[in-house]
Symmetry: C2
Subunit: 249 residues, 2 copies
């Protein structure tokens, strides 16, 4: 492989990235590089932190079981990404939801405890790790922000007034998604309920939100995670960076 | 539960459905009804076969470990469904792909062996069982037809000339999906390649198909199954039964 090819391994770091900087790999990163990928003899990776773009970095091994990154040249500039959030009642296959939502460009993941939510405990650290891994693999330059689990009431009370909220209404009463969505770059988010659906009191509370619009995804009953991913895909296609005209860089 | 409510259990059957007909449950269905759902005392289910609509049926127990369905009234007429196929290089999480594609209304699933396909064996019976189960749960009136695994060459040579083929081109060279798709009810299908991408010779062969159009799903590198589901969602939203105007019944 010529040295100019972009390294295949991409890793997320919290650290600032600038030329010549030296960053310590986390323990799992060092394990992955040295033992899974057997890079003890050195090699290059891509690093990104969600702020400074993507950088080439050389792996060095300062001590047994440790790895450092020596930052080289910038490969890509940080770009402004479409601003779409995903709020969801936790489902059983949360790992899958986090992975797919990251691939589909969600900027934030907000687990919400609704009346009929089956899954009431969420491992936020694990959800974040799923999102980091998916971001590394899909060549994103950022990682979705994972919010702590909150109650439905707290969610409704703190939703930003200037952010559209598309509610995935499984009763079928919502507007067809492409008709409901604005073809704008305005910040927005989707809310998907639990398998058991929203409680009537929750639907009523959502109606009070001036930024909320009920959206329908057709006649079949979609699992919560299918609905979330389908909605994100439709949004990226209509209003996000899947439109050539909306893409930076 | 009042007797007029629609039964919660939905089951697919190969048999014809007409009032008063008696149908033997399959062995797994009998096990599910009698031992999992404990319906030894009888009860109602919904039956569908992809041809005759959806019917209420009473469960009877003619012998130990056996169950029969006595068909009652029709609950829903069979409707014409959007005609979209999904062709794919088999991926590791095929069960998930079959489930989601069924929820998203794919009419046929076509596994295709491409040059860079990692997974070279597909359990077609299992794939079909995944599709049946998903159809039962998502309230579809049909089950996607699962085709046998075929080579890429056979796939290209037998693709119907009058069916649009949207190729999910991971090189990014395709047209943005909402621009590439025709907002028509014309039969179509999507082809998604393996994680390793299509071989150049495969992309060249696809170019020779007059019905093929390359489609892009934005700047991030999607997993094959994410791309397939995202594309189906966009298609249903633009041209399928997620548009209120395209819905029957």
């Amino acid at each position: 492989m010529p040295r100019t090819a972009r390294p295949k391994i991409r890793l997320y770091t919290d650290a600032d990235l600038s030329p010549g900087g030296v960053i310590s790999a986390t323990e799992p990163q060092a394990h992955y590089l040295l033992h899974v990928m057997r890079m003890a003899g050195g090699g290059d990776v891509c690093l990104f932190n969600g702020r400074d773009g993507e950088w080439r970095a050389s792996v060095t091994v300062p001590a047994k079981r440790r790895a450092d990154f020596v930052v080289g040249a910038r490969l890509r500039d940080q770009a402004v990404e479409p601003d779409v959030w995903l709020a969801f009642a936790p489902v059983k296959r949360l790992e899958y939801l986090a992975e797919k939502a990251t691939e589909l460009g969600a900027g934030a993941l907000l687990p919400v405890l609704t009346r009929h939510t089956d899954v009431t405990r969420v491992n936020i650290e694990r959800l974040r790790a799923n999102a980091v891994e998916a971001a590394e693999q899909c060549e994103r330059l950022s990682v979705p922000q994972v919010h702590p689990l909150q109650t439905f009431d707290a969610f409704v009370n703190t939703w930003p007034a200037d952010r559209l909220l598309y509610v995935l209404d499984e009763t079928g009463a919502g507007t067809a998604i492409l008709e409901a969505m604005e073809q704008t770059q305005k910040p927005c988010g989707f809310l998907v309920g639990p398998e058991g659906g929203f409680a009537q009191s929750e639907l009523d509370a959502l109606k009070q939100l001036s930024s909320a619009r009920n959206v329908s995804l057709g006649p079949r009953i979609l699992r919560a995670e299918t609905a979330a991913l389908a909605a994100l895909a439709c949004w990226q296609a209509l209003s996000g960076d899947w439109r050539a005209s909306n893409r930076e860089g």
